[in-house]
Symmetry: C2
Subunit: 385 residues, 2 copies
Amino acid sequence: MEDKLMLMIPGPTPVPEQALLALAKAPIGHRSGDFSKVMADVTEKLKWLHQTQNDVLILTSSGTGAMEAGIINFLSKGDRVLVGDNGKFGERWGDVCDAYGINAERIKAEWGKPLDPEAFRAKLEADTNKEIKAVIITHSETSTGVANDLETINRHVKAHGQALIIVDAVTSLGAMNVPIDAWGLDVVASGSQKGYMIPPGLGFVAVGPKAWEAYKTANLPRYYLDLGKARKDAAKNSTPFTTSVNMVMALQVTLRMMQTEGLENIFARHLRHRNATRAAVKAMGLTLFADDAAASASITAVIPPEGLDAEKIRATIKKHFDIVMAGGQDHLSGKAFRIGHLGFVNDRDILSAIAALEATVQMLGYEASIPGAGTKAAIQVLHQG
Amino acid sequence: MEDKLMLMIPGPTPVPEQALLALAKAPIGHRSGDFSKVMADVTEKLKWLHQTQNDVLILTSSGTGAMEAGIINFLSKGDRVLVGDNGKFGERWGDVCDAYGINAERIKAEWGKPLDPEAFRAKLEADTNKEIKAVIITHSETSTGVANDLETINRHVKAHGQALIIVDAVTSLGAMNVPIDAWGLDVVASGSQKGYMIPPGLGFVAVGPKAWEAYKTANLPRYYLDLGKARKDAAKNSTPFTTSVNMVMALQVTLRMMQTEGLENIFARHLRHRNATRAAVKAMGLTLFADDAAASASITAVIPPEGLDAEKIRATIKKHFDIVMAGGQDHLSGKAFRIGHLGFVNDRDILSAIAALEATVQMLGYEASIPGAGTKAAIQVLHQG
C-alpha cells in the first residue's frame, strides 16, 4: 500500500512526525543568531545523550564520514593501531586506515562472533614500547547484529595507558549504554539515521581531552573533516562549513523527545525489543546469527532454515505487509536478513514485525513452527518488561 | 513576525513548499529499489542541469566537502597547481591544497575585482614542461559578488593542454551558465542550498574523462570523499555511504521544477534580478562592490555610504521587514552587506527586498536619495525583462 512503509532496518530508522514537520520548515540562515541558539541547545542535549562533558561535534556527513574524522584527526602516517574486525564496518575502519597509511593490525573474529577482548589485552600488554597509538572498535556491528564487549576492551586500553580508544557507535549511540565519561572513551562517532531518529545526513563525533592532545601532533591531511576547525566554531555555536540547518532543527526535536523518555528507559526499551525479537525468532525455529551473550540491542540478524531464501522473505514481507527488513551484507547476501529495532520503535512495532514475519514464512511454505508461536514468545518478553 | 522570514542571502536560499513537503516524507531505505529509481531520475536531471554527459556525483556534505573532493581525487602531493584567489572561497581552496601538500600558486586579485585571465595565460604558457596539473577557479565568488571569467581562463587552460580545470560553481550552478561539456570543464563542484533550491546537506561534483584519467595516479589519501567509490556505486544508482535520502527526494522535486522553467529562463531570471538589484542600489546612491562587467548573477555586495553601518542595515531590515541579508565576510565584516538573489527568487522578491532596503536606510537617517528611486530603477529593469 502506498505511503504505508514500515522501516525495520538498521537505518534509516523511522522518524517521528514532529521531526518530519521540523524538516519541512523553511530553512533559516546557518550564521544567524536564531540558529546559534538552536546549535547551543542541540549541543547541550548531545552532551547529555553522549553522557559526556567532552566536545560533541556535528558534521554534515554519513556515519562513515564521522568515523573517518574520528580516526584521521588523531593519528599520523605509519602509526600502529589495532582495529577490531568482525563485520563489514570493522573491516571498513581498517580500510580507512590503509587509505591514510596508518599501520592497522586487524584483530579479527568470525562474522557473527564478538571480538575477543583477550586478544586486545595480549597485544596491548606486549606493547611495552607504547607503539600502539589507538584501538578502533565497532561497538554494535550493524552487519551481523553482534555487540562487541567495548567495556572490557576499553579496560585493556586504559591499562595500556597510551593508546586512544576510537569507537564506532553508529548503531549503539542512543540505543545502548555508551557512557563516554564514565568509561573514558576518547573518540565516539555516530550518525543521524540511527538512534537519533532523524533521516541520514548528519554525523557526530565526541572527542575527549586525550584525543585533543593527540590532535596537536597528528599529521594526516584533512580539511572538511578537520575536527579542530569544527571545535573552534562549535565554541561559537556554529560550524566551519554550512551545516544541514533543517536536519539540525529536526534533531533538536528528537533530542527533546529522548530527554523526555530518559536514557535508562531508552536503553531498556531497546533491550526489551531485542529480547522479544530474539525469543520470537527462536520460537519460530529460525536461527539467530549472533549468540545471546553478544547480541546488539539495535539489530538482529537471522538465518532462515534450509529451503527458505532470505531475499524471498524480505520481498514477501515487503509486498504483503509493507515492512522493510535489511538483507545480509557481502558474503551474507541472500543468506541472512536483519531486523532493525533501533530508534523510534515501540512495542507495537515489534509485535507487528514478528506477526508479519510469521505470516510470511507460512506463505513461503515453512511449516516447522506453529503460527503464533513467535508472537507468543515476543508477547511474553514484552509483558515481563 | 514569527515564521515570516525571507532569506536574501547566498545560501541557504528559499525552498519551495513542494520540496519542503518532500523533506517531510518518512524516509525510505537508501538501498531499496524504490530509492534506486529516485537516484536514477535525479542523476539524469543533474546531468541536464550540468549540461554534461559526465558523471555527476552526490555527496552528503557541504559545498566545501564537494570542492575538497574535486581537488584531492585528481592530484598528488607536491603537484603544482594555480589557484585563483580573489575572495574567501578562492582563499579556501588554496588552504585545502596546503592541507594536502599540494603546491598551490595563488593568482590573486583584490577582493571585489575579478581574476585577471592574462595572469593565468602567462603562467600556463610559460609552463612548457607541463608541470601545472590543475587550475582551480571560483566561478562566482560568494564573498564579494564577483563573477570570474571562467570561460576565458578555461580557454587558456585548454591551450596548455595538460592541466585540469577544477571549478567551484557553488553559487553559479543553476544560476549562471556553466556549460560543462561545451567548455570541457573537468571538475565542477556545487552545493544544495544554492541554485538547487533545497536546504544545505548535499554536495555535487561533476567529473569528466580527463579528470578520471588523473584519478588513476592521484595519490592523496581519501575515503569518505573518494569519488572513485562514488562513481562505482553511482553506476548502480546508489552511493557508497548512506546518502541523505530525504534531501535527495526534495532535490528530485526542485530539479523537476527547474526542468519546467528551462535553463535559459533560469539564467535569464538570475541576470534580470542581478541587473534590477544593481540598478536599484545605484539609484539609491549606495556603492556596488563589484563592477558591472564582473558581477555575479547570484549575489550583490553593497558598501553603504559613510555614516551608515552595514550591520545596522541588516539588523533593521530583519527587525522591521523580516528580510535576512548577508553580512560582509572576514575584512569586509561590518563594511559591506550582501543581497542574495539566488535560487527560488521571483521578481516580487526583488521588489520586496529593494523597497524594504529603501525604507530601512530612510529609517537609519540616510537622506541622500529619494525614497522610491531604487524601486523605480528595479521596476524599469524588470519591465525590460
